[in-house]
Amino acid sequence: MADRIGITRFGAYIPQLRLRRTAMAAANAWANPGLKGSAKGERSMCGWDEDVVTMAVAAARDALQNYRRDRISACILASTSAPFADRLNAGLVAGALNLPDALQSFDVSGSLRAGTSGLMAALAMAAGQDNPVLFVAGERRSAKPASVAEMQNGDAAAAFLVGYNPAAALVASHTVTRDFVDHFRATGVKYDYGWEERWVRDEGYMKLVPAALDGLFRKTNVSRDKVARFILPTPLGGIAPALARKMGFAENSLAPALIENCGFSGAVHGLLMLVQALETAKPGDMIAVASFANGCDALLFEVTPEIEKVRPRRGVSGWLARGRPTDDYTRFLSFNGELNVDWGMRAEFGNKYALTVEYRTGRDNLAFLGGRDRQTGVVQFPKTPAAVGPGAEGFAHYEDVPLADVPARVVSFTADWLTYYPSPPFYFGLVQFENGARVLMEMVDVREGALSVGSDVEMVFRVKEIDSIRGYRHYFWKATPQDAKAEAAS
């Protein structure tokens, strides 16, 4: 067992906002009355300040928790909708997670198989080295307003730490590559272009998925009826059960589709289902994952006794329970650049970021590193040349103190309706960390009445500002209410 490679930790993230599909269908009924037929449940929806990078960071934190970051040897990010085409998205994730500089890192993309293919690459990389590989995937895919895809999609992220002594050991993997184009999106184009679903089902899923799974099971002596969970991510209804039957998996092995309560999250979706499966998995469970896109990836995992020690902090079930349903379809459109809302002149404020300053202060800003002054012992953010604590003299010398996971509470706050903000009101206030640091911070994902003086907040990594002229985005940390009620519900 000790020399098996696999998933050692796992986590997920689903944005709090959940757009009710009935609201989407109602808003678009004039153009596409047929949408009403699939207007069930809700889709997850990124806040204006969430993207693949921020969701990946959230998922990684869900997985890693207090795992020592300096042990991680590589960071890989998979997505078809990452914010930067040329700037390492995985590097941003690594920075936010305070991973060491000696780190292998790259982005994986190209198809909705990027999630499973990236995971396979990560597993291969982790084999033969002492330190584990962090693999993250996130999707925030665009779809045309009033399209079926817009309703079916969801935004989400998943993260895995892979290495030895796994909670889910890789038994085998297999890939079939075929240029089967169920949909495509050319470079620089915003939306997918897709072909008829019936053809995609019959010629695509029903032929290429079995080919991959047959190949997978030929590589092992595991019997198909031993599969406790079959994961087939797809936005199309009926395909997964049909394939489960065709493959000879037990009927109750089918993993929840996560379409009605989350939406199809592209390259992440199979991984999201895998995280959910692992949340309740028992040692000995066999989990088969198939991921269809320009061919098909297939992976087989065996759950080990380690599973009992490494549950995610919230996981898919926890994030699902933290949903905040909304009918604000126009808010969704605005967040996705589909609606040109009149924000007034305050929105015209220039926000060009100096890349020199970004780099000079980037490590502390990305990882939210405060400093403990060696002279006074006082923790502060940012690290100023002169320390803030009483009795500090001369130039301060700091020891890094990551603040992202330090308990904190609200000193003061407001809901600001005057300042420009893409999702008013703008909540901000003074946050007091348990270790003494104090920072004026933006506050996000605030339910009505969730903030009060003294209430507990936790930190989330988000987009601070988007420079739409230059296409740049700057990230920083924000505070969010601990939301004990939602936590209890999960």
Binding site: T419, F426, A437, K464
Partner: protein
């Protein structure tokens, strides 16, 4: 403590432009309006001015940077002119420069002039500004009302006051200033408003509604200062003297260190204690006749009453609702309408407050003149509750 400048500097002339939406007037005209009034009030020729301090806070939408705009605007004869900027305390900062020049003997007669042209932004409220390249990387971009609104929740929590009761006291603050502003011909907002209107106004930054926020205006104000001796030579038999002029600036402890609870303005406390010491005041509530405070927001005025040591801790709400700071109360506050109604052209505001004290001390305040005005205090605050500059100045006639 240093000896300070108590009674070393006299104000011999002051001017204040009409405040408001001066659509047809540029910055240079506003400066000239205030300057001409100050010059003729002083009874001197501009050639007697040895040095000048020019306060402008939002120079990108005003006249640009440097002191040249004042020198050109008033055609000052190549004297030293300094541009000062210290957020909303800029006006008092300009006065401080001029007063220090006189007190040191570097200048016999000095000019302080503050000017702001805010109604060229195209929208209401203060213009959006950068906090500097590094700070923009991490600091939230809250509005001015957003930063000061936070005093309310923290104050309510500290003193266990219900928000509804606090809102009532805050509304009274604004109601009173509207009553006063209505009697000031130079004020921007001259219409009384009802408590009901104030309480039901649209929300700007919770819990501050529209009427909890001061007006944003165009305007200029100026002071000509000199020594008490020269003042007497100029025929001012009992000149208005600066009793104290103190400034306290945040060193970041409120925003970055755990002590401060967010319910008061630390620098107002420090600056006022220094000012009382410099002026020899032991009991401000009894000894001061009139106050003009930085009422950028109603809640700022409320906590300032405690920060100045006039109301007891947690007692400002009671004093306000008792009418203690009303025009006919024990210690009238914002008798000229304050920032709330006189208006708030940032660079001019500190000097506008001094202007009202100057008039009141000389019995020249017309319809709003108070009886027996002996000592007047101005409080000029710039920044946010957690990071700010606070100026406290005290003015009086004759040596104490």
């Amino acid at each position: 403590m240093t000896k300070g400048i108590r009674d070393k500097v006299a104000i011999v002339g002051m001017g204040c432009s009409q405040f408001g939406e001066r659509w047809d007037t540029g910055s240079e005209e506003l400066m000239m309006e205030a300057f001409q009034e100050a010059l003729s009030d002083a009874g001197i020729d501009r050639s007697r001015i040895d040095a000048a301090w020019f306060g402008v806070s939002c120079d990108p939408i005003n006249v640009g940077n440097s002191a040249v705009p004042l020198a050109v605007g008033l055609r000052l004869p190549n004297i030293p002119v300094t541009h000062v900027e210290n957020m909303c305390a800029t006006g008092t900062e300009a006065l401080r420069g001029a007063a220090y020049a006189v007190a040191s003997g570097a200048a016999e007669i000095a000019l302080a002039l503050g000017c702001e042209k805010l109604k060229d932004t195209g929208y209401g409220g203060l213009p959006v500004r950068t906090k500097g390249l590094f700070n923009d990387m991490w600091m939230p971009y809250g509005s001015a009302p957003g930063t000061f609104a936070q005093l309310a929740g923290a104050y309510a929590a500290r003193h266990s006051i219900k928000m509804a009761d606090l809102k009532q006291a805050m509304a009274h603050v604004s109601w009173k200033s509207h009553e006063n502003g209505a009697r000031n011909p130079k004020a921007h907002l001259r219409k009384p408003v009802s408590m009901d209107t104030i309480l039901k106004a649209p929300m700007i930054a919770e819990p501050l509604g529209l009427f909890d926020c001061c007006g944003v205006s165009d305007g200029a104000a100026a002071a000509i200062v000199t020594t008490p001796e020269i003042a007497r030579d100029l025929g001012k038999r009992d000149p208005v003297l600066i009793k104290s002029l103190q400034l306290s600036v945040s060193n970041g402890s409120e925003a970055s260190y755990r002590d401060w609870d967010g319910s008061y303005v630390l620098n107002t406390r420090i600056a006022s204690r220094r000012a009382y010491e410099e002026a020899g005041i032991r009991n401000p509530r009894e000894e001061i006749s009139l106050i003009e405070v930085h009422d950028c927001f109603s809640v700022t005025e409320l906590v300032t009453m405690e920060d100045l040591g006039i109301s007891p801790e947690g007692g400002a709400t009671r004093d306000i609702l008792d009418g203690f700071f009303d025009a006919d109360g024990g210690l009238p506050c914002q008798i000229d309408g304050g920032l709330k109604c006189f208006g708030h052209p940032i660079g001019a505001s500190g000097l506008r407050m001094a202007y009202e004290m100057y008039l009141q001390l000389q019995g020249r305040a017309g319809e709003r003149q108070r009886k027996d005005v002996r000592l007047g205090l101005t409080h000029n605050l710039g920044g946010t509750p957690s990071s700010n500059v606070a100026c406290v100045a005290i003015f009086g006639c004759g040596p104490a």
